[in-house]
């Protein structure tokens, strides 16, 4: 269960008087226990402390993923197979149904049989093994959420046209947590190819985390043999439409004096590394490691060690990249071998949004006041599961409210937020029975 924030409510008979908010005349250095609440005097400055508890089983403010393991290449598509119909997705939620009379197949939802996409012509191999005319092959992402289908139209003598379509088999939420992409097509591309079999399984592959489809476009006329057109199709990256954003490279081994590249994906699926394989005969060979964020920004990441900029370079071939198995792998959380540096920071797990609490002083009234208040700022903290911290608000001058001489005090209200997992309803929905809020409404006389 994700982290859940809880501010201390008051006792059942006086819910307005939370002991989880205390005013203090001096700074507290202990975050687990603090001194008693005091009576403020107008004109003096006071710190305010709010007790924040995590009642979830995950930390509030965790890194989003800390799955360790070696970074891996994608699982390539298979284009030479004879499926047993119907073909079920890895998650069992969608399937391919074949219509022998038409030699067509379509993608359906298992639960209700509704058509997600298709039909496409199948046209498997001929008994002699030759491949001519329309043919299709496909692969689901490992989690079954995405489905990519390729149709190729092979001309006699080699070459031909190809079409690639990618579908979401059910609605999903982008990594930013705000956009829900509906079921249906999320990417398509087409082209011509000079390859003898037009396009094949080695041109495509899903990464293990199901966050990216790696697509190496088949060669076109006059394309140098040393050139690779690499496109990453990344359905979780932020975008203003439902189309999966892409990132493309034109890679030429001759230009960079390489024998090739390793394309590897992190276990969490948030990062992609382009690792050059330098040609040992060329000292000027390109050796720089490049890492791309394939979950949110689709931008190259500046690599860091201890948060200082570094530029790891390949020393020898047979490189490896791995996310390490340590507790909370952020700093130096990626291990490199056969490179100029052995460790770099793991940006997938280095920084996160903490819990935030907002505090305000409210003119004393019997029920939470929404109009007459003064903001007292925001404070942040990371809270481990089943732990509490007294978080501090800055020392601010206390000025008793003007008006009736007897109205001598403010009450204190706190609003805790643990977005994105446990967002606050906001001040406009203030409710003292809600664990995101607390109020200390007490007057000393």
């Amino acid at each position: 269960m994700p982290g859940q924030i809880k501010l201390d409510p008051g006792p059942a008979t006086e819910i307005w008087n939370s002991d989880g908010i205390r005013l203090r005349s001096s700074q507290e250095m202990n975050l687990q226990t603090i001194g008693y609440h005091i009576k403020p005097i107008s004109g003096r400055s006071y710190f305010t402390y709010v007790k924040v508890t995590n009642i979830g089983s995950d930390p509030i403010g965790p890194c989003r993923c800390n799955k360790p393991g070696p970074w891996k290449s994608v699982t390539l598509f298979i284009d030479t197979f004879t499926p047993s119909w119907p073909v079920l997705a890895p998650d069992g939620a969608s399937r391919l149904t074949y219509f022998p009379g038409l030699d067509q197949f379509q993608l359906e939802q298992v639960s209700n049989g509704s058509v997600i996409a298709g039909p496409w012509f199948f046209h498997g191999k001929t008994p002699s093994g030759t491949q001519n005319g329309l043919q299709s092959f496909w692969a689901w992402s490992r989690d079954g959420l995405f489905f990519a289908v390729v149709v190729r139209d092979q001309q006699a003598g080699g070459g031909g046209s190809w079409w690639l379509d990618v579908y979401a088999t059910k609605p999903y939420i982008r990594a930013n947590g705000t956009r829900t992409v509906p079921r249906g097509n999320i990417y398509n591309s087409s082209g011509v190819s000079t390859a003898s079999n037009v396009i094949s399984g080695v041109n495509l592959g899903w990464n293990d985390a199901s966050t990216s489809l790696e697509f190496r476009r088949p060669p076109i006329q006059s394309q140098p043999l040393t050139q690779t057109e690499l496109t990453l199709i990344c359905p979780y990256v932020d975008a203003v439409s439902n189309v999966a954003p892409t990132y493309s490279w034109t890679l030429d081994t001759m230009v960079r004096s390489l024998s090739g590249w390793n394309f590897v994906h992190s276990p969490c699926g948030g990062l992609f590394a382009l690792v050059p394989r330098p040609n040992p005969n060329f000292t000027s060979a390109y050796r720089q490691l490049e890492i791309l964020d394939i979950l949110r920004t689709l931008m190259l990441i500046s690599q860091r060690q201890d948060n200082l900029l570094v530029g790891p370079a390949v020393v020898n071939n047979n490189t490896t990249v791995a996310t390490v198995t340590t507790t909370s792998p952020g700093r130096r959380g990626i291990k490199l071998t056969n490179m100029s540096l052995t460790e770099i920071d793991n940006s997938e797990c280095l920084a996160s949004a903490p819990a935030s609490v907002n505090l305000r002083r409210v003119r004393v009234s019997t029920i939470p006041n929404q109009i007459d208040y003064t903001n007292m700022g925001q404070a942040n903290a990371v809270i481990w599961p089943n732990h509490s911290l007294w978080i501090e608000f800055p020392s601010l001058q206390w000025i008793n409210p003007a008006g009736s001489p007897g109205q001598i005090h403010f009450c204190l209200q706190a609003n805790g937020d643990a977005s994105p997992d446990d967002p606050s309803p906001g001040w406009s929905s203030l409710n003292l029975n809600d664990r995101h809020f607390a109020q200390r409404n007490i007057i000393f006389t």
Partner: protein, 260 residues
């Protein structure tokens, strides 16, 4: 024995677009049951009378009060209610307290309230802090705060150390070091607040993870001091790690007036 009057005016609001009927009541409660309120060596204050009134003009000793007021409040209106508690002051050197709950009941349910503590002598305005952590996380701030351009290498300081530029957003750099003798795990640092400087900071926690003795990490936070107020301040950070208690770290910084 001296008699004194404790007077508290409280707003009873109606923020709705309909008239509401509200019952406001006052009742004594045991001050020893109030959490987080220092009550050591205190006796119970002798209460001669207590009650509520809407009359805020008459002298308190002449006002007739009731334990319960039934109010009808017009839409978007407030009503001011005065609580008057008559106290017999204890003898000198005696500390005594009493507590009352004022409840606001609407449609048969308690919608809110206020707690009143009467104290003689005056309730403390200063009480000792709790003892510091006995086993503090050994992470500490190893250098003065600096600033760099957004996203730049934390070593490429711009401007003077300890001063946040008010002309453009920057990254605040905080050098964190493991000052202990052991390797720390699950180390993390979070910017708690930037005092009352009005420097805006993007909330962020750094999951440093494993850090060896003497190991360093240059934590950064995006800050914007364009609306900050000139002055000297202290930002606070919370550092945590396995097997140790969390600690609050402070670091000074200054905001200079424009054209300083």
């Amino acid at each position: 024995m001296t008699t004194t009057y404790r007077v508290v005016d409280i707003v009873v609001p109606n923020r709705s677009s309909n008239k509401v009927k509200v019952t406001v009541a006052i009742s004594p409660t045991d001050p020893a049951m109030l959490e987080g309120i220092e009550m050591e060596d205190n006796k119970l204050l002798k209460i001669l009378s207590y009650g509520l009134t809407q009359d805020i003009c008459t002298r308190v000793e002449r006002v007739r009060t009731q334990e319960k007021l039934n109010l009808q409040i017009d839409e978007f209106q407030d009503v001011l209610v005065r609580a008057i508690i008559t106290v017999q002051e204890p003898s000198k050197r005696t500390r005594a307290r009493a507590a009352f709950q004022i409840t606001d009941t609407r449609n048969g349910t308690v919608a809110g309230g206020v707690t009143i503590i009467c104290s003689s002598p005056q309730f403390p305005t200063d009480l000792p802090s709790a003892a510091g952590p006995t086993n503090p996380c050994p992470l500490f701030i190893a250098a003065e705060l600096t600033c760099v351009d957004p996203g730049a290498d934390p070593r490429l300081t711009v401007g003077q150390p300890g001063i946040i530029d008010t002309t453009k957003p920057q990254d605040l750099v905080v050098l964190i070091e493991n000052g202990g003798p052991k390797e720390l795990t699950n180390a993390l640092v979070c910017l708690e607040h930037t005092s009352d400087s009005n420097v805006l900071a993007v909330p962020l926690a750094w999951h440093i993870g494993t850090i060896e003795p003497g190991g360093r990490f240059w934590a950064t936070w995006e800050v914007d001091a364009r609306t900050a107020l000139p002055g000297n301040y202290e930002a606070t950070f919370v550092a945590q790690c396995d097997d140790y208690e969390p600690v609050r770290l402070s670091a000074k910084f200054a905001i200079r007036p424009p054209n300083w």
